[in-house]
Amino acid sequence: MAGIADPPERPEHGRPGDGAARREPPRRDDAGDARLVQRIVAGDSTALGELYDRFGRQSYSLARRICADEGLAEDVVQEVFLAFWKDPSRFDPNRGRFGTWLLTLVHHKSVDAVRRESAIRRRTVPATDDGAEWNAPPGPGADEGAIGAVVAGQVRDALGRLPAEQRQVLALAYYGGYTQREVAAMTGVPLGTVKSRMFTGVARLRNLLGPALSESGGDLAGGMS
């Protein structure tokens, strides 16, 4: 399995049976999301397909990055969408956007999956991860929606401005699925230092990105400030 420092491989084009069914690029449409969620609450399974059209690609791309395995990523995405189908009430629209909740769940499930796999087959431990892959623009074939590209560019830029040691612990935890204790063991940094770097890194990112991502009600004097 690839180490997490490896740049993402390019998508395979023209694989048999994988006709590139391009759907509309993801865009921020909270009211539309809410209507789809309502239909799912009412038991309309076709609405799940429409939600998938909005978030499936982001979900799959995240799961694929963490799992480093396309089949496992498919499993995770399917599990997440069906978990929401089975109990739509676990998403509370008063507490944030649907996309945020969904991608958080995708991250959790992907990490769980890769940890289960690694119990069987040890993951390659990367010697280093300086997050360089997010400083570079995505390679050809890595397709982003027009609006998504703007946010993605901002996030990459913000990541690039983090001190390397903060970027490293965040990358290992979020993209690699390693626990803080594992990160400490891999990097030779004390656990307490890993915890504080992670905290500071997230706080800095949040300040750098500011309103580009904020959806916590606009109160920026929150617990991270």
């Binding site: 399974s45 069906l82 109990d87 998403f91 507490r95 769940l105 949040r206 991502l213």
Partner: protein
């Protein structure tokens, strides 16, 4: 605690730390807000990744399985993630969503590859119908909680390590706090563990209290030598009581526990029967007319409600201590 909350929101804590944070979040609005802020940032981290188009079969598989999966709430084994609604009780789905047509399909299988028939033997996109009888039904129990990605054969789901956690009091009240990203079912499980620990402590207390009475003799019964005792027998004035310390509850309508005394020649004699109910913290009286003092006692679990002439399955035995 804010540091731990960030770790939790990144899913980077060890299991024991996770539970501490979940506990803490129910009573701390500031940390809940921190968790929400971390989710905003991590969503950004997700969108910063190069985007890849998933295979079309994934969408088909998801929609198809949703159509066959009843909406019935989440499993109790699931931990809350940041943003989950508090007290997410399974909702009652509308009637039309509860169509039970054909065997359910677990929402965990790998999406069908092109060329292979989808679960249930019906090509995607056709009208629903009963699967042909030639199709073996998928080994699926839709009422089971989702078992993790690919938790089919060969991918066992790791159970969360929870045993032996003693929790602070007031867990029940925590489940009523609004807006904490903590799930009621999660608390049910934790509370059951806590209650079990309390019950066990009460049982031990019962044993010790009884042992302190003059004239009482006792025997600790274990599954085998060197193992922890699962019951204690207390003998006082010829009457016998049993204290279950680790005996599984029996089905009181179809099974009974039997206490046996061993005669000097090793032949067993049934002393009496008793039931272990969940949460019962003994000592339980074992009704018996005979007052004979035995040197060794044993417990067996028997089908039916009567003691047989000989034990069929001894679960524990032990000698009377001095």
């Amino acid at each position: 605690m804010a540091e731990q909350t960030v770790g939790w929101a990144l899913h980077a804590l060890e299991p024991d730390e996770e539970f501490e944070v979940i506990d803490h979040l129910s009573g701390c609005a500031e940390c809940r807000r921190t968790a929400a802020e971390v989710s905003d940032v991590t969503t950004g981290l997700a969108t910063a990744l190069p985007q890849y188009e998933p295979p079309p079969r994934l969408r088909e598989s998801i929609v198809e399985q949703a159509r066959r999966t009843p909406q019935e709430g989440r499993g109790t084994g699931e931990r809350p993630v940041p943003g989950d609604r508090l007290g997410s009780a399974p909702q009652v789905p509308p009637r039309h969503a509860r169509r039970a047509e054909g065997p359910g399909v677990p929402p965990t299988g790998r999406p069908q590859r092109p060329g292979s028939p989808p679960p249930g033997g019906r090509p995607a996109g056709q009208q629903p119908s009963q699967p042909p009888p030639s199709q073996p039904p998928p080994a699926a129990r839709p009422e089971q909680p989702t078992g993790g990605a690919g938790s089919g054969p060969g991918r066992a789901r790791r159970k969360p390590r929870r045993a032996g956690r003693m929790l602070v009091a007031g867990v029940a009240a925590l489940a009523l706090v609004v807006g904490g990203g903590v799930v009621f079912n999660e608390f049910q499980g934790i509370r059951a563990e806590r209650d079990a620990s309390i019950a066990q402590a009460q049982q031990m207390e019962g044993v010790l209290t009884a042992l302190a009475q003059p004239g009482t003799t006792h025997a600790f019964l274990a599954p085998e030598a060197g193992r922890a005792a699962v019951a204690a027998v207390l003998v006082h004035d010829g009457g016998r009581e049993i204290v279950p310390m680790g005996l599984e509850p029996n089905q009181v309508d179809a099974q009974t526990y039997v206490l046996w005394g061993l005669e000097a020649d090793g032949s067993p004699r049934a002393v009496g029967t008793f039931d272990v109910r969940s949460g019962s913290a003994g000592p339980l009286s074992v009704a018996s007319v005979d007052r004979e003092a035995f040197g060794t006692y044993a417990v067996s679990l028997e089908p039916g409600r009567e003691a047989p002439s000989e034990p069929t399955a001894v679960v524990a035995s032990g000698q009377v201590g001095t």
